[in-house]
């Protein structure tokens, strides 16, 4: 089994307050792993470390067996799709929001357009290209953010409670896509969820975090 992430003696602090401490964790690739725990337990901090937005205060993280360094952090970030509970959409239209991640990767207009219509169709947002992102409902905004993550076709998806605060239609659609991605067997997926039943049938593993530490897990720790 290939390993996507290897964490070794990783800690993270806000100021002097340590919020995460993981002695050892190996997250396999190509499967869905659920991240469970109560509010404030450190789940989001873990995902931020795994997205390489934040850096650990101590310890090391390897990504597909390569240690994460200052030099390779950006290229690793580009292999990850990260969807938060309340995504930020740029103050422009839906097209520009989804296209931006492709533009900064140097894709040409033709490829961007075809990729965009494909992902917008997948999240049931066809015809919304010219709509201002700020005028969308919460569910629509979440779907645009998902389209943005799907557009770059990352190897790893990090979902931070993607279905909370969503209407039933968006909730079902989001779950459907996560399940499709999970079943494909080619994507490494970590999902923070309060409703384990949403992903129970596709998640192979789980990690339970409490007070910044892993208290239960089906993975090698």
């Amino acid at each position: 089994m290939n390993i996507a992430y290897t964490l070794d003696h990783v800690t993270f602090s806000y100021g002097t307050r340590q919020v995460l401490s993981i002695e050892s964790l190996r997250i396999p690739s190509g499967v869905v792993t659920a991240v469970l725990g109560s509010n404030g337990s450190g789940k989001t901090t873990l995902l931020q470390l795994l997205s390489f937005v934040d850096q650990p205060a101590s310890g090391s993280i390897s990504f597909f067996d390569k240690p994460v360094t200052r030099g390779n952090r950006l290229s690793f970030r580009r292999r990850i799709g990260y969807l938060t509970q309340k995504p930020y959409l740029f103050n422009t239209d839906v097209y520009e929001n989804v296209a931006w991640a492709l533009k900064i990767r140097g894709l040409d207009k033709k490829n961007i357009r075809s990729r965009l219509s494909e992902v917008l169709c997948r999240v049931d947002m066809e015809g919304f290209e010219k709509r201002q992102a700020r005028s969308l409902s919460g569910g629509e905004a979440q779907r645009v953010a998902l389209a943005r993550a799907l557009a770059v076709d990352p190897e790893v998806f990090l979902f931070d409670e993607p279905t909370s605060h969503l209407d039933s239609k968006s909730h079902a659609l989001m779950n459907g896509i996560i399940q499709d991605l999970g079943r494909s067997g080619t994507k490494t997926i970590l999902v923070i969820t309060h409703d384990y039943s949403d992903i129970a049938d596709i998640s192979e593993h789980f990690i339970e975090i409490s007070s910044g530490c892993i208290v239960r897990s089906s993975l090698d720790t």
Binding site: S51, V53, Y82, T84, K86, F90, I104, V152
Partner: protein, 230 residues
Amino acid sequence: MNFIIQGILDGLGLIIRFDAEVYLIIWTSLKVSLLAVTSASIVGIPLGVLIALKNFVFKRTLILTLNTAMAFPTVVLGLMFYAFLSRKGPLGEYGLLFTPFGMELGLFFLATPIVVNLTLSAVQALDPRLFVTCRTLGANAWQEFCQILREGRFAITAAAALAFGRVISEVGVAMMLGGNIKGFTRTMTTAIALETSKGEFELGMALGIALLVVALLVNLALYSLQKHSS
């Protein structure tokens, strides 16, 4: 009262008749102010973004200094630059005193703290999720910087507009570093001061009206930006 009304009418007459002297003074004012604010924006906007995003020792002290610099009396700034640019000063050999470039230099230092400070505030007011989103979408530092500018474009443009308003309406730097030389460094504000003291009230009034029109246009631009952003 008749004296004031007559002065306004005569001033308007000079503007309507496209008086060469009036328009040369307006052009000089606009030119030096635009150049000063453009250079201040080129330097000040990236600096403002950088200060807003980075945490470093003495950050608060720097912000406090910038706040103070925003309220710096223009005559004192003019005096300081006069000391540097005058023949006996360290930059005296370059002959910059009483030249448009000398004025632009002083106005640049007047505008830069305004641009830096207001850009800093604009970036700090942005949703912090923007920075995380840029990074998680794979942006490098330059792409993130460009996106920050794009998201804060209305407030950052307003910063430059406010700096322009301050620069074009000041008199201390323009007088001390420009010397109010006719056809060369005479600006609207220095000309108003001079012409009024000479009793040429209508020319002073014409330039005053022109200055008010510029201020009105800047405010209109700001208002439309605010309306657009909200």
